[in-house]
Symmetry: C2
Subunit: 422 residues, 2 copies
């Protein structure tokens, strides 16, 4: 496949910029909350582009969009390529969009070169990946993977009490296609959302799996006291206890880097009055690791930290999980296809494990899956300033293109070579 | 004055219990927010009791109530005795009430014993001590002391935009008496609101002054990052920085105990999302000390802590004062009168410095002032479970009674002795 064409970097960039006009907000950002009118406009634009490319678009019963390019053997399950078009409220132009538009660019490149694949290729836009309007995140992919029942997914409500099913119907994207997923492979391109590739000066992250998450809500209970009248050693100060926990969680994180993470990002103190010692503090601890055993060790150490500090500060505590996801390994064949593609293109790459959630993670449970990361400037995402250069996007798209072709031609390289050279 | 009568402990307790029915809330607490209908009912009851005792009640233009018992020499300024009848939203039965009702009990005891004083005695109920409906706290006393202009005090608004002046008028307590204060002495009894007297097993705190307060709002600014994708050492985590500051403020407090306090009681993190590293954390640091020099040293060390930790964590910071009060010394003669009274009554006592705010603190700037503390069970105040025993209240009231009499007879002990024995 060494004579394969390259994708059109300018066309790929132009598609990003055109999509970024949909739900545009100040500072080059976008707001396309799932199943909103902006999401509808983004979906409509994507559907129009797909139909212009001759693809057959269908929408399933949770609003996931599929756009199919026929294969030479239509009895084969397709190679899926995609991501999501919804965004955070003040999101950027590349998170999600890249994976979907890379798929579109791959189809356009195949068409321009007149390449037929043995297996069909399907582009996919998963519903509600961001999880900021409806929970949980990756809802469409979770339903497609069979982890969440369709009825439960449709019943998810936003903060105004609007059901996802009703919101999808209102924008014309409550489809009729079955949600059952049958695919030969799933490839997803995504911005890294972290600083590693940029820091290392590497073009491509070959994502071999995802970190597991054990995330807890911790509550420390102390006692209200007057800040002016109660000596410090007589207090049961829940905020002091929380501060010690936060400092130790940082030390825990450092012990498990680079393959793990631990973070306290959310805190609420009560009564949160300037002259009353805090009697109750709630905070979250988000532990992640790519190894299941290590994740369990982290969690055990976290519990020891909370117990010890609570005891030393005269506090009681509770520690309840709010999010538990096991580590997942992606498919070795898909990962190898991506790695070979990067090598063939002379692109620098590194094996990575995703610390963030992606549609690929639930899908990996039912379809052979792998992901490509491209660099994020300053590691920033979920922000209007999110940026990846046209060249970096093109590099990621070329890797996806070659891997998709390898996975879709199915031991029939001659057909692809024929197509590429005719 | 060794033959002076004792106050009536049961009558004092009964007055507390009767007043506690006004604005009563579950759990034996009270809610009498300043200038509310409950405050009016409390004021009405107090005024009725005063008139029944033959006192002349007047209300000044900021709603402070004065109830005067004539002296033999009406040209002399009065000895003031009082505190406040307003409460926290879920306050207790003794905070403020004790100081006012102790004054009433002193008058009743004088009347029952037929004792005349040379100088007049005036009971006082200061407006809006708690500061929870209108800011600042001790507003009525601050206006009386000339620290806040009358017009500014009347213009203070509650969270619904209601002016204090309008609220006082609505309950019939926007008086016409001049706010200028002229008094020979001011004595205030109060619950300790801390654990010291109970812990030491002592009956009386002789309060010789008040701690100064240097209280700051600190803002740490870092950067949002994804908790799953950004290695800990690459982050600018404002919550981690705040946690380190809170831990060091605790160590600072321990260095300055028992004469100082330092507390972080309020914290707000942004965006306060579970998977986004906190980019901004605002917290308060409340430093108090009875010595002005020590308070300045504390404040300097606090600034060093914030600067150093911000630097080490890659954060920027601001540190703005929101409350600055110098330490105040109460009047030596008044303090000596209280100390002598406690000794004459064979009550255990200790010199104390108030760490909390009280009406006596602004008044001390313009009138010779001292305070008596009585024990708080478990150090608790501003809570429905606040409690002081009838015997403890009586002990404090007896000390105030004797000291008031000493201050009000003015180098004419014979007159008092005559009165006491006739």
């Amino acid at each position: 496949m060494t004579d394969l064409p390259m994708i059109d970097a300018q066309r790929l960039w132009d598609a990003h910029m055109a999509l970024a006009e949909v739900g545009r907000i100040p500072g080059d950002g976008v707001c396309r909350l799932a199943a909103s009118v902006e999401d509808k406009a983004g979906r409509d634009l994507f559907a129009r582009w797909c139909r212009e490319a001759g693809l057959v678009v269908r929408v399933d019963r949770i609003g996931n969009m599929f756009a199919r390019r026929a294969g030479k053997d239509e009895s084969l399950p397709p190679v899926l390529i995609g991501s999501h078009l919804d965004s955070q409220p003040t999101g950027g132009r590349f998170d999600g969009a890249f994976g979907v538009l890379a798929g579109l660019e791959i189809v356009r490149t195949l068409d321009a070169a007149g390449i037929a694949t043995t297996a069909p290729i399907e582009l996919v836009n998963w519903t509600n990946e961001e999880g900021c309007r409806f929970q949980p995140s990756s809802l469409g992919a979770e339903v497609a993977a069979g982890h969440i029942a369709l009825a439960d997914g449709l019943a998810a409500k936003d903060e105004n009490g609007i059901r996802l099913g009703d919101a999808l119907e209102a924008i014309g994207y409550l489809g009729t296609a079955d949600v059952a997923l049958k695919a030969r492979a799933y490839l997803e391109g995504h911005i890294e959302q972290g600083p590693i590739l940029e820091e290392k000066g590497e073009a491509i992250g070959i994502v071999g799996g995802s970190m597991g998450v054990n995330a807890y809500s911790v509550i420390l209970i102390g006692r209200e006291d007057h800040t002016g009248t109660t000596p410090v050693q007589r207090r049961k100060d829940a905020l002091f206890g929380a501060a010690r926990c936060i400092a130790e969680v940082r030390a825990l994180a450092l012990d498990f880097e680079p393959n793990g993470r631990a973070t306290v990002a959310r805190i609420l103190a009560e009564p949160n009055a300037r002259s009353v010692v805090a009697s109750k503090v709630t905070f979250t601890v988000d532990c992640r690791h790519q190894g299941e055993d290590e994740l369990n060790v982290m969690t055990g150490r976290l519990r020891e930290i909370i117990e010890r500090i609570s005891h030393e500060c005269g506090l009681s505590f509770t520690m309840e999980p709010y999010w538990v996801v096991p580590p997942r390994s992606f498919d070795a064949t898909c990962v190898a296809a991506l790695r070979s593609a990067a090598a063939a293109l002379n692109l620098t790459s590194r094996p990575m494990v995703s610390g963030a959630g992606h549609d690929a993670i639930p899908i990996a449970a039912v379809v052979p899956t792998a992901m490509v990361f491209v660099p994020s400037r300053d590691g920033v995402s979920h922000h209007v300033s999110e940026y990846t250069t046209p060249e970096q996007l093109a590099a990621g798209c070329n890797v996806l293109f070659r891997a998709a072709l390898e996975l879709a031609v199915i031991a029939d390289p001659v057909a692809a070579d024929d197509a590429a050279t005719r």
